[in-house]
Symmetry: C2
Subunit: 460 residues, 2 copies
């Protein structure tokens, strides 16, 4: 295994060679060059193509060896059989990091396996840091690195954020990035590492564990190639920041499918669950959970205990939230006398002052402000789930302002659940933009809160 | 308990009196009158208000007794204490059905309980069919009945469809209708029945069981007031059409919250599960499940067996779908030799011809058409889950056309999973409009398919 000296250059290169950039704009290399040139990358770009007519107005080189300056990162998207020679050239030219987009390696069987072995030898010999082959590579919203060969109309690029996301599957990653962009979720770094001829999930976990821009790490995994190292690295990283992992291949059918997809020998699901537990890695069962948990960690302070207060203007949503909170290890807070007295004075006579606090369908912005304030001040409450249904006629943007103001004080974790159509979305987008995660169902919101609690136990 | 002779008039009145329609446009009665006048209702409207100046240009009556013509349905939104007298007047005037929107009855405690008892006596004496009090009432996309007092900018109205939806909670119902409108899901009838002084979930189940416009029934329930009758009615109805129920109050915390919300004595969750099983009612655990299952039933033909074929352009999504299919009682189909040979000729060499059939990221419209056709023709396949990720560059609207054409033949159930941003949504909206349910995650799609299988076993 090569050294990982080039991890810095992978995410923060000052210069990039795009090998396979083409005069045909629909080619993978051309899309990558265009994305880099028009996106956030501000360093030097070197297109490499045997035909040295300028591409996108950039001086083009016939080979990596012809580039005069230092190349920190090379992105290769040429046919598989040409890649070993090109990688060798990269090594000879002192390139620190390489992303190999090209497919046609071990994922296609024996012939590709041989080519991939060749790559490994070159990697070892030159000590280059390589992501791939057969991957989407890297997206970094901070440095503007974007090796994803999908045009932005097909796959939106998420805005800047503090969630980083490691994916063993490229298509999985691209669908999730596209979805995140649409939903307005912020991403720091994304890595699709493909066949992992060199850099794998353990290396990435280590790097992101030390990355100051990453507050929470999400992972999609079909099978760990170095399970023991993954556990050890998980132990270290989860002392610093939360790691959420969606590990698939849980059933016989799934294991078989994973073996055929990434060649992962998935191993027993129970063993993975035990390993994740040992490593402090939170296991997500679904795509929603993986992102819901990450979004909660992304913005909310640490949880000190498991006593939740639920505030709602819809009784049914309150019941569902209570069900889910209890099911996932939270406890309904016993509100203090002081809180109850305050609520009695502040709410309508038939509001429910228990927990859930049901403001009922006549709820207005003042009711929400009073209930949230009271729960924030109540020492018997560790966290607050605010169910804000915007169909009832008296709730308005005043509640949105209250939530944003209170959230900015970071006193206790607060998550919001809201469901509906356009009017709702208009308002909840503002909450999201202000760093308050909004979940479409009480169940998902309560589970995300429970994840905050689980991690607080892991960390302490 | 009164007879339910007025159920027809509840959903298909020729004339409606809106008692509590007001000269103040923000009053509940005024919003209802406006929604009826400007919505799809084509019969006669009688606003009732002591001040008989015209409201919204309509001749206004000082009391229901003053209306000359037959009133099929009256909608009451006046203060609680005035309601018994008005209901009595409705009875004397021969009104067949009444929706009482007003709150302030048994949900507020002893004083309201007394008022509600008064209502029950009047209902029995006159044999009127009453929905409410303390409810949103009825929304019927066929007849244009809309007693929901929320303006349409707050709560969108879903388009016409064949899913009917019974909700014990008003706020839950309004959030779900609003969400359905936004997502483009079609609804036939929605009923929020509030305190159920007369009409309850058993009556509604019976009515919708016989309603030719309803293909599937969704229910939100906190507690059944007539559990034995619910089981008996469930048995009858589920022989004809699927019933999906989200029953909350599953934990101690949830039971307590439900008691405080709808006064439901929820009873043991295990007993409910057993009762639903006996009744053939499919239990949903989450809001997503309730609607996912309903959407699958809404458009897809019956399932004859549990052998599923999964077609995907993203390996990871395929693995997740396989996991979920097996977990929920489906079996990965063993594709016939003929299918495999055909696929071998039609797909790229490194496509996976097992099941999931992985078209890989180079998938194009022809690959999708070939794979779907082959699975439709394969007698070893009972149903097909198509994972259509639209980030890869070669898939286009041709695949959408293929799906629509094949689905229109109704040969085997087919569900689609697709995830992403705007480009994806533009295409999946077309599928939804053409009656092909699209699910955002493989897990949800596979669970919905499993629900089709569960119901096929209940029915046969």
């Amino acid at each position: 295994m090569s050294s990982k000296n080039g991890m810095k250059q992978l995410f923060n290169p000052e210069s990039i060679a795009v090998i396979g950039a083409s005069h045909n704009p629909s080619k993978v290399g051309s899309i990558i060059l265009k994305n880099l040139k028009e996106g956030g990358f501000s360093g030097t770009l070197y297109p490499v193509n045997p035909d040295t007519a300028p591409i996108l107005g950039l001086k083009t080189y016939s080979s990596i060896g012809r580039v005069k300056g230092q190349v920190d990162l090379a992105i290769i998207s040429t046919p598989a059989k040409t890649v070993p020679k090109i990688l060798e050239d990269c090594g000879l030219s002192g390139v620190k990091a390489v992303v190999i987009i090209s497919s046609g390696f071990k994922e296609i069987g024996d012939k590709g396996e041989k080519l991939e072995d060749d790559l490994k030898k070159i990697i070892e010999r030159h000590g280059i840091t390589v992501v791939g082959p057969n991957c989407l590579g890297v997206y970094d919203s901070d440095s503007g690195i974007d090796t994803i060969f999908l045009p932005s109309y097909r796959m939106g690029r998420p805005k800047h954020g503090n969630i980083s996301f490691i994916s063993q599957s490229g298509a999985f990653g691209s669908a999730l990035l596209d979805w995140s962009a649409e939903e307005g979720f912020g991403i720091s770094k994304f890595i699709s590492y493909g066949n992992a001829a060199d850099v794998d999930e353990v290396d990435l976990l280590e790097y992101l564990g030390n990355d100051k821009d990453t507050k929470v790490i999400s992972m999609y995994l079909e099978g760990a190639s170095r399970p023991r190292e993954l556990i050890e690295m998980g132990k270290k990283v989860t002392k610093k920041k939360p790691v959420v992992c969606l590990k698939v291949g849980r059933t016989e059918a799934g294991v078989k499918a994973a073996a055929s997809h990434t060649g992962s020998l998935a191993g027993s699901d129970e063993i993975y669950s035990a390993a994740f537990k040992q490593a402090g890695i939170l296991r997500a069962d679904t795509i929603e959970e993986m992102f819901d948990y990450a979004r909660a960690f992304s913005s909310q302070p640490q949880l000190k205990g498991n006593r939740i207060a639920i505030i709602t203007d819809g009784g049914g949503f309150g019941v569902m939230a209570a069900d889910s909170a209890e099911k996932h290890g939270l406890k309904m807070a016993e509100l203090s006398k002081r809180t109850k007295n305050f609520l009695k004075k502040s709410l309508v006579p038939y509001a429910s002052l228990g927990n859930p606090i049901d403001l009922t369908g006549v709820a207005n912005d003042k009711h929400y402000a009073a209930a949230i304030d009271a729960c924030m001040a109540d020492s018997k409450v560790d966290c607050i789930l605010v169910i804000l249904l915007l169909q009832p006629p008296n709730v308005s943007s005043g509640s949105i302002e209250t939530l944003i103001e209170i959230n900015s004080q970071h006193r206790k974790p607060m998550l919001v659940c809201s469901a509906g159509g356009r009017y709702t979305k208009t308002h909840t987008d503002i909450l999201e933009d202000s760093g308050i995660p909004v979940f479409p169902t009480p169940d998902r919101a309560a589970k995300a809160m429970a994840a905050l609690y689980k991690y607080s136990k892991i960390k302490n």
